[in-house]
């Protein structure tokens, strides 16, 4: 039973039949998720699912209840309606219910669905994996290739009906170089708009170049260093800055550093949430996804909201309602940091830098660290967006614009706001690279980031403590 387009309206009517006057929203999603994982250079976990899920929200007599179910038969739908009807009668009062998205609200965009990605087979993904393994030229490899195809429909009791479709794909992989009993890893990551653009061999070669360039890495003393952060590391900065700063709940509760209209970051930074290329075309409340400017030349200009936080803040929802919103609140998941140039694709280069965009920033470093990736970053203080974490998958010392030697992983303790403050951004890469987030689903994060050259990064320890 996979009718995501008509089922929402049918369910709304069922609820209205048993609870006249109720405000109702129904969302039905069909997610075809496939992921081919490899390690020790063989495919070891190869999974797929085809799941249809219905989510029902009912507000009646001042009370709200939400129910979700997987859908295979009409019995599943009937059971969902029955459970939520019972629950809403016993739920506590919900005085901050924000009401429904207007039936006249904008329609979601018509998505460009990539047919190659939507129809990708296990063999298609395995072929990309084989390319990565071959590109690594004998080094051990590990990673994944994923494809996602989502179709969905939404209806509400005020007559709003929207439908959507989207595809997403990505590769993240490492090559592992072993020397003197130690393994050194190098990373490549890409989330293009089509699996046809995933060239496993090129990415495998890039990861291998990084891994080989890490051989013999040694510790450097802790301290503040200039850094060039590759797109995989910038992803972490932007994601956490957005989640803890530019999320409506953090602003509403006073936990955010963001003051709209203020120059809070370096003027070289312009950041927006851009869900129009991939991901769901509307949110859980039927609000269409749209481009949302968050930072314009360092000035904070926008925050992500759902209907509840928007009501509390006296603004309109930006279409960022998502499952699990109570814990996290509305969060931008498709961040795009504006690059400094117009080149759509950077060129491959020799050496450990990911590409020509990164290499051009490295050339401007007097003495600093080139960072491929961050790992296990966790927040210490929400107001300053202070985090601790480690470098991973390739870290090098840069002296007078040249990569001079590999460096063991550092631990850092750093305020992300301070790192991006006015005067701290010494360079922005010419090219933005689309990189996949860690999870995979139709709502998985996909960030488009250029590399960044920052004036100071606070490394607080080395691999030995």
């Amino acid at each position: 039973m996979n009718d995501q387009r008509q089922l929402p309206e049918e369910v709304v009517q069922r609820v209205r039949d048993v609870l006249p006057g109720a405000e109702v929203t129904v969302q039905v999603d069909r997610d075809r998720l496939s992921l081919t994982r490899f390690a020790t250079s063989v495919i070891h976990q190869n999974v797929a699912e085809d799941t249809t899920t219905a989510r029902l929200v009912v507000h009646h007599d001042g009370r709200t209840a939400t129910g979700t179910t997987t859908v295979a038969t009409q019995d599943d739908v009937a059971g969902l309606v029955e459970r939520v009807r019972d629950a809403v009668g016993h739920a506590p009062l919900d005085p901050s219910w924000p009401g429904l998205t207007s039936a006249d609200a904008d329609r979601p965009r018509s998505a460009e669905v990539d047919l190659a990605t939507a129809g990708a087979t296990p063999r298609d993904r395995a072929e990309v994996v084989r390319g990565f393994v071959e590109g690594a030229d004998g080094l051990e490899t590990a990673g994944y290739v994923r494809t996602v195809h989502w179709t969905g429909g939404f209806a509400s009791s005020n007559g709003r009906v929207v439908v959507g479709e989207a595809t997403e794909c990505g590769l993240s992989g490492i090559a592992r170089h072993e020397a003197d009993g130690t393994r050194w890893d190098g990373l490549a990551r890409l989330a293009p708009l089509s699996i046809a653009e995933l060239d496993g061999e090129v990415l495998g070669a890039r990861a291998a170049a990084k891994a080989r360039a890490m051989a013999g890495a040694e510790e450097l003393p802790a301290g503040a260093y200039e850094v060039v952060l590759e797109p995989g590391a910038v992803l972490d900065l932007l994601g956490n800055l957005a989640a803890h700063g530019y999320g409506g709940r953090a602003v509403e509760e006073g936990r955010s550093f963001v003051r709209l209209g203020d120059q809070q970051l370096d003027p070289a930074l312009t950041l927006l949430d851009d869900p129009l290329e991939v991901g769901r075309t509307y949110d859980d409340e039927g609000t269409p996804a749209r481009r949302l400017p968050l930072v314009e030349e360092g000035r904070s200009v926008g925050i992500a909201t759902d209907r509840r936080t928007a009501a509390a803040l006296g603004v309109e929802s930006t279409g960022h309602s998502a499952h699990g919103g109570f814990s996290w609140g509305p969060t931008p998941l498709h961040l795009a940091l504006q690059p400094s140039g117009d080149d759509e694709v950077a060129e491959e280069v020799d050496g450990p830098a990911a590409d020509s965009s990164v290499a051009s920033l490295v050339a401007g470093v007097e003495r600093g660290i080139l960072v491929t990736d961050f790992w296990y970053t966790r927040m210490l203080d929400p107001r300053s967006v202070s985090f601790t974490g480690l470098t991973r998958n390739g870290t090098w010392l840069v002296e007078d614009g040249v990569v001079t030697r590999p460096v063991s992983n550092f631990r850092f303790t750093q305020s992300y706001v301070d790192a991006l403050a006015a005067g701290q951004v010494r360079g922005v890469g010419r090219t933005a690279t689309p990189v996949p987030g860690d999870t995979y689903s139709a709502t998985s994060p996909r960030f488009s980031c250029p590399a960044l050259h920052l004036g100071s990064w606070n490394f607080t320890g080395g691999a030995s403590g």
């Binding site: 998720l33 992921l35 081919t36 994982r37 390690a39 020790t40 063989v42 495919i43 976990q45 190869n46 999974v47 699912e49 085809d50 249809t52 939400t66 129910g67 979700t68 997987t70 295979a72 059971g79 629950a87 016993h90 739920a91 506590p92 009062l93 919900d94 296990p122 084989r130 393994v133 590990a142 994944y144 994923r146 993240s172 992989g173 490492i174 890893d185 006073g254 936990r255 919103g325 109570f326 790992w375 296990y376 966790r378 210490l380 203080d381 107001r383 300053s384 202070s386 601790t388 480690l390 991973r392 631990r411 303790t413 305020s415 860690d438 999870t439 995979y440 689903s441 320890g461 403590g465």
Partner: protein, 479 residues
């Protein structure tokens, strides 16, 4: 058609399509969550799902396919698709994928549950949460939240070797959290733990937490933290509360002894491990007080079950004995690759996820001391409790943790409250410095252990008691 029959149909279809081994997990799961904020319930969510996941081995390739349909035809198709995917895996494979032998089990298991959490009226649960947030606000919190979670899982496992197992696992837990907002920073205080406390128990477990009795203290402490002195930087003796030590065990021992990590199967994401299999049985992990067990049989602990998701019966096993590393968390395939002869630690986060090596209850056996004795024996140190942040490298060596509160220890007494406490170290050095361990053990539940791609959330348990570690670096700061 029974649930067993559907699972059997899926397994048979995979065999018919060329699989040499197949298993299927059919699951029905109901979950319920509620969240209250500042006196209002903002979120009441109930989820019900049912589906079937099939795992097939064709040649040396594994495949997995999942559908939310448990009818005969859908089950057959799922089995067939799993075998097709396994065939594609063979494109990038090598000979040798296999599993250690296992005696097929026919069995049934359910945990103790006095009060079914799903039968407790929503209004009763809502009143508990809203009252807790009201009390926290009344006593100093600027933002007060309270949550509970309930999971009710029934699963039927069938393998082509003849296993046939059904289990019913009921879990629940709750927690409250107060946030105080100052001019330049925010402070948080939680109870019973930073993410709540969870168990394989019924609602009687939540009632025993006494959220309302603790809410005023939690609200007041969040406020008090705003003006508390900052945790000093340097090296000192560190006493950890049991909840923080539970997370220390989870991150620096539990994940490190996962055999799939040790073998490099998680190298690209979750990471590897500093442990080398050639030193299993001889490597010194910590001091002689360090006795870590893998025990999925502990009644009520969150990582307990009757059989893992490969059908292996739950058995207690040593991981570290008197400081020496002696055991791993393993599955049948990883054990075969490592040349070991035991498994039993494989679980899947629902029917749509591939079973993989996960922690069960990985905990520290109680020691000979009491918390009072530990404090009284410490001349100069810091006591930290309630986790606030956690970070550890991809080999599970270099860690840094932050806690919600710290207290000075001077002359054998607890002193001033300290804000923003952090400590950092290297796993085996840190565990080697363990010199006092309390007998006051609590089996803390962690309901949010992330691992794998696609991401899986595991429920794990960690018995732990307050302990002292010597000469630890504390007070790491951003600036």
């Amino acid at each position: 058609m029974s649930d067993f029959e559907a699972a059997e149909a899926a397994v048979q279809a995979a065999l018919d399509a060329g699989a040499s081994y197949a298993d299927a997990r059919l699951m029905h799961r109901r979950t319920e969550q509620m969240g209250a904020r500042d006196g209002d319930v903002e979120d009441v969510s109930q989820r019900s799902d049912a589906g079937l996941g099939v795992r097939a081995l064709v040649g040396s390739g594994w495949g997995f396919f999942a559908v939310p349909d448990v009818e005969f035809g859908a089950a057959r198709r799922a089995g067939h698709r799993a075998a097709e995917i396994a065939e594609a895996s063979a494109l990038v494979s090598r000979d040798g994928a296999g599993m250690i032998p296992s005696e097929p089990v026919v069995g049934s298991w359910a945990n103790e549950c006095e009060v079914d959490p799903l039968t407790v009226p929503l209004s009763v649960k809502g009143d508990l949460l809203t009252e807790a947030t009201r009390l926290m606000r009344e006593h100093g919190a600027d933002v007060a939240t309270a949550t509970y979670d309930v999971w009710d899982t029934r699963k039927w496992f069938v393998s082509s070797e003849g296993a046939r197992i059904d289990q019913h696992v009921r879990e629940c837990g709750a927690g409250i959290q107060a946030t105080a907002i100052g001019e330049h920073e925010t402070q948080r205080r939680s109870y019973p733990a930073s993410r709540g406390q969870f168990a394989t128990r019924g609602w009687e477990f939540v009632e025993a937490l006494d959220l309302l009795g603790n809410a005023p203290r939690v609200g007041a402490e969040a406020r008090e933290l705003l003006t508390a002195p900052e945790c000093p930087s340097g090296r000192t003796d560190l006493v950890l509360g049991s909840e923080q030590l539970a997370l220390q065990i989870h991150e620096s021992v539990g994940h490190a002894i996962e055999l799939d990590r040790i073998l490099g199967w998680e190298a690209a994401y979750a990471g590897t491990s500093w442990l080398d299999l050639s030193r299993l049985g001889s490597l010194q992990y910590g001091s002689e007080l360090m006795n870590i067990t893998i025990d999925p049989t502990i009644p009520g602990a969150l990582g307990s079950f009757g059989y893992d998701d490969e059908g292996t019966p739950a058995v207690a096993r040593d991981a570290v004995r008197e400081g020496v590393w002696v055991g791993v968390l393993a599955g049948r395939d990883s054990a075969a690759a490592a040349g070991l002869d035991y498994a039993g630690s494989v679980r899947a986060d629902g029917w749509s996820r591939l079973p993989m090596v996960r922690m069960t209850n990985v905990g520290l056996e109680p020691g000979p001391h009491s918390f009072e004795e530990i404090i009284a024996s410490t001349d100069d140190g810091i006591y930290m409790e309630s986790n606030r942040s956690w970070s550890i490298d991809d080999k599970r060596l270099n860690f840094q943790f932050g806690t919600e509160v710290g207290y000075e220890i001077k002359g054998g007494r607890l002193g001033r409250l300290l804000r923003n406490p952090t400590y950092t170290g290297i796993g085996p050095q840190f565990w080697a410095s363990l010199d006092m361990l309390s007998h006051e053990s609590v089996a803390w539940g962690t309901p949010n252990c992330g691992k794998g791609q696609p991401g899986q959330t595991g429920h794990t348990g960690h018995p732990a008691a307050p302990a002292r570690f010597r000469d630890v670096r504390v007070g790491v700061r951003a600036r």
